[in-house]
């Protein structure tokens, strides 16, 4: 064995030195927070929000129903009704807060986990399940609710959002666009390119990064050694970190970023610092790579709990409200359950549909051949 090979096996001193140098160049930055984990309303010098009791109750209701829907989907996966589910558990405030900041004419580009944002956009939750059940790759018309299809190739939707926003600006419209992505996605070249394009064209887009601190099994340290919101500055637009478990702060910060976009001041990066309380998806086993204590610590910062504490403290919600909401949750769960079970399998000829808008000779040929082939079994079967 050569000297070199020994080096590769055991870290040498200087190698160790480099590793140790990696450590805490970072100090945890200030989060924008308007509601503490204990349910206290606090003020922030740059962001304020003034909601009516009904609006507050609305946000609470959105989060509770989203969580309920999400839990139902997880259960449906366990029952074999879905092939997979990507739970948003723990990220309700980030999604409802940002989702409720939007206007109807704004446009959203989600990842595969934005069930709460979809809810805010008015997409029927059962539509979200088609892809996870395996009956389609996207079960809604994006233009009905200005909510694009779920995108699975990490980061690619940030460029679509940027292009869409360039089009909004060209049209002279004052709507804005939101691109959702995760902490892991921040490493993809496409995301950096979307920062460049949006800055150069001053596109009205908000980059909303839900830093849930994990990309499957990898902690955020595998993606960056400084807080992600700082990434924006080097591209020439502002970045801000918000408490992603504080629905009020998420609403205020997103609203502000959207307003900037509308005013023609270009992109903003919002990093919602939150936590993925569940597994990456139902296929994942987080016990392989993270300690229970971490999740437990974050459960204390639960986004729903803290708003409930606040509502109760302020006497804005009584037992009847919570009971009613519980009933509504149950009926949402039931509706989703029934709808999924009733979801028909697609016709097998759907394989050949919508490959092209204007047709393609080979697709026509293969469709016809396949139909004849299938028919031959029917013949035989007779």
């Amino acid at each position: 064995m050569t000297v070199e090979s020994t080096a590769a096996r055991k870290p040498r001193r200087s190698s160790t030195k480099r590793v140790s140098a990696k450590k805490p160049q970072r100090s945890e930055p200030e989060l924008v927070q308007l509601l503490t984990p204990e349910g206290e309303r606090i003020e922030h010098p740059d962001y304020s929000i003034d909601l009516t009791p009904d609006e507050l109750l609305g946000l609470y209701r959105d989060m509770v129903l989203t969580r309920r829907f999400d839990a139902e989907a997880t259960a449906l996966q366990r029952q074999g009704e879905l092939g997979l589910w990507a739970s948003l558990l723990g990220q309700e405030a980030a999604q409802i807060g940002s989702g409720r900041a939007l206007r109807d004419d704004d446009y959203v580009f989600p990842t595969y986990r934005e069930h709460g944002v979809a809810w805010c956009r008015g997409v029927d939750p059962t539509n979200l399940l088609g892809m996870f059940r395996g009956v389609n790759h996207g079960g809604w018309d994006p233009n009905t609710n200005n909510f694009h299809l779920y995108t699975i190739v990490i980061g690619s939707q940030t460029l679509h959002a940027t292009g869409y926003a360039m089009g909004v600006a060209k049209d002279g419209a004052d709507s804005a666009v939101v691109a959702y992505f995760g902490d892991g996605a921040s490493s993809q070249g496409d995301v950096a390119e979307s920062f460049t394009f949006s800055a150069v064209y001053n596109a009205p887009v908000v980059f909303f990064c839900q830093n849930n601190q994990w990309a499957i099994s990898e902690p955020t340290e595998r993606q960056t050694r400084v807080p992600l919101y700082q990434r924006a500055q080097g591209f020439g637009f502002p970045g801000v970190r918000v408490d992603g478990n504080d629905v009020l702060a998420c609403l205020a910060v997103t609203r502000d970023a959207l307003e900037r976009a509308r005013r023609g001041e270009g992109p903003t990066l919002v990093e919602a610092f939150t936590y993925r309380m569940g597994a990456h998806t139902t296929s994942d086993d987080p016990t392989k790579y993270r300690a229970d204590e971490e999740r437990e610590a974050w459960e204390a910062k639960d986004p729903i709990l803290r708003l409930r504490t606040y509502l109760e403290k302020q006497g804005l919600a009584d037992a009847a409200f919570f009971e009613e909401l519980e009933a509504e949750s149950e009926s949402l769960g039931k509706r989703v359950r029934e709808a999924v079970r009733a979801m028909p399998d697609p016709d097998q000829m759907a394989i050949f549909e919508n490959v092209y808008a204007d047709g393609h000779a080979l697709v026509d040929e293969e469709r016809a051949q396949f139909a004849a082939y299938q028919a031959s079994f029917a013949e035989e079967g007779k």
């Binding site: 790759h137 994006p142 292009g163 909004v168 394009f197 919508n354 092209y356 808008a357 000779a361 080979l362």
Partner: protein
């Protein structure tokens, strides 16, 4: 304008101009497409006449170019994107293959993707690495894309019109070494379908099928073969996805010999697909196996070797002889 003799590059320029003029949703995007008019001047003068909002110099990032073009298409625009050279399309490959090609199907037909990607391709101009490649097979294998390549100015003009009008993504491969070749364009003609092949020279003994830059070589080969008493038919395929197999089949049922010619490497190239399918369709007609003439399984060589690497007249004629000798 009506009938005019134009270089192929200028025909595309005119076609883009017409499109910008008639449809306000058409945009031109790419590196250096603005003031410079592109490194081949294909977009020359367009930014001057249509402004920076319609003819857009982009950052140097191909994935970004295609990715934002997708977003613009979602917003109702019809972007015509330029990739500066064949070898630089690969940073955009992910956006093309996983997003652009699949968006229509993913949305169950709700979303249309009228995006044209223009790629000057092929060799023969004495360029450095990455500037002479023919990557069409790498796109034709992917469902959701349409792939075309004109061989002359009239096709360049009309196929571009049709590509821009198509609601599907079209990859438009421009034979860069033919950019300066002049031929007639009738801007008032009624063009045939975009994906239909054309018999450009009739013949009885053997069919040469080619597209883009190799059509000219094949026509010359047919002329040379004629001097030796061989009657060679030349089919300009024009489209690599879909491929107009019917036209090739009709020709081969007559000539019973087929040679497919392209610059791209033969291995896994479009000649393979044509050979496989035509052999299936014409099994009892073929008197020789379908032969293929194309690039070798090697990176495109440095310029001083490209004459040897590229399928030229002699290599085509050699294949014609070998086919007829069966």
């Amino acid at each position: 304008m009506a009938v005019q003799k134009l270089p192929l590059a200028k025909a595309i320029n005119e076609s883009l101009r017409t499109a910008l003029d008639t449809d306000p949703k058409v945009l031109i995007m790419g590196e250096d497409v603005g003031k410079l008019g592109g490194v081949f001047r294909v977009t020359d003068g367009l930014q001057k006449d249509f402004g920076e909002e319609r003819v857009i110099d982009t950052p140097l990032a191909e994935s970004g170019i295609v990715g934002t073009a997708i977003g613009l298409a979602l917003r109702g625009y019809r972007p015509v994107v330029e990739i500066q050279f064949d070898g630089f399309v690969f940073p955009a490959y992910d956006q093309i293959v996983t997003q652009l090609a699949k968006m229509h199907a993913r949305s169950l037909g709700k979303i249309k993707m009228p995006v044209v990607i223009r790629i000057p391709y092929g060799g023969g101009i004495g360029a450095v690495e990455h500037h002479s490649e023919s990557p069409e097979a790498l796109f034709a294998h992917v469902a959701g894309l349409k792939i075309v390549s004109p061989s002359n100015s009239a096709d360049a003009y009309w196929m571009m019109q049709q590509a821009i009008q198509s609601d599907d993504p079209v990859i438009f491969f421009e034979p860069k070494r033919r950019y300066w070749d002049k031929s007639e364009v009738d801007t008032e003609a009624i063009p045939g379908p975009l994906h239909k092949a054309r018999v450009v020279r009739e013949g009885a003994d053997l069919t040469l099928a080619a597209y883009g830059p190799m059509v000219k070589v094949c026509v010359e080969a047919a002329a040379a073969a004629a001097e030796e008493g061989k009657s060679v038919e030349v089919v300009d395929l024009r489209s690599m996805s879909p491929i107009d197999f019917d036209t090739i089949q009709t020709s081969v049922e007559k000539t019973r010999h087929l040679v497919v010619v392209h610059e791209a490497p033969v291995f896994y190239g479009s000649g393979a697909e044509i050979a496989a399918r035509i052999t299936e369709r014409c099994f009892y007609h073929l008197e020789a196996p379908v032969l293929r003439v194309g690039g070798f399984h090697a990176p495109y060589p440095p310029a001083r070797l490209e004459e040897e690497y590229l399928p030229g007249l002699d290599r085509v004629l050699d294949a014609v002889d070998r086919s007829l000798a069966y």
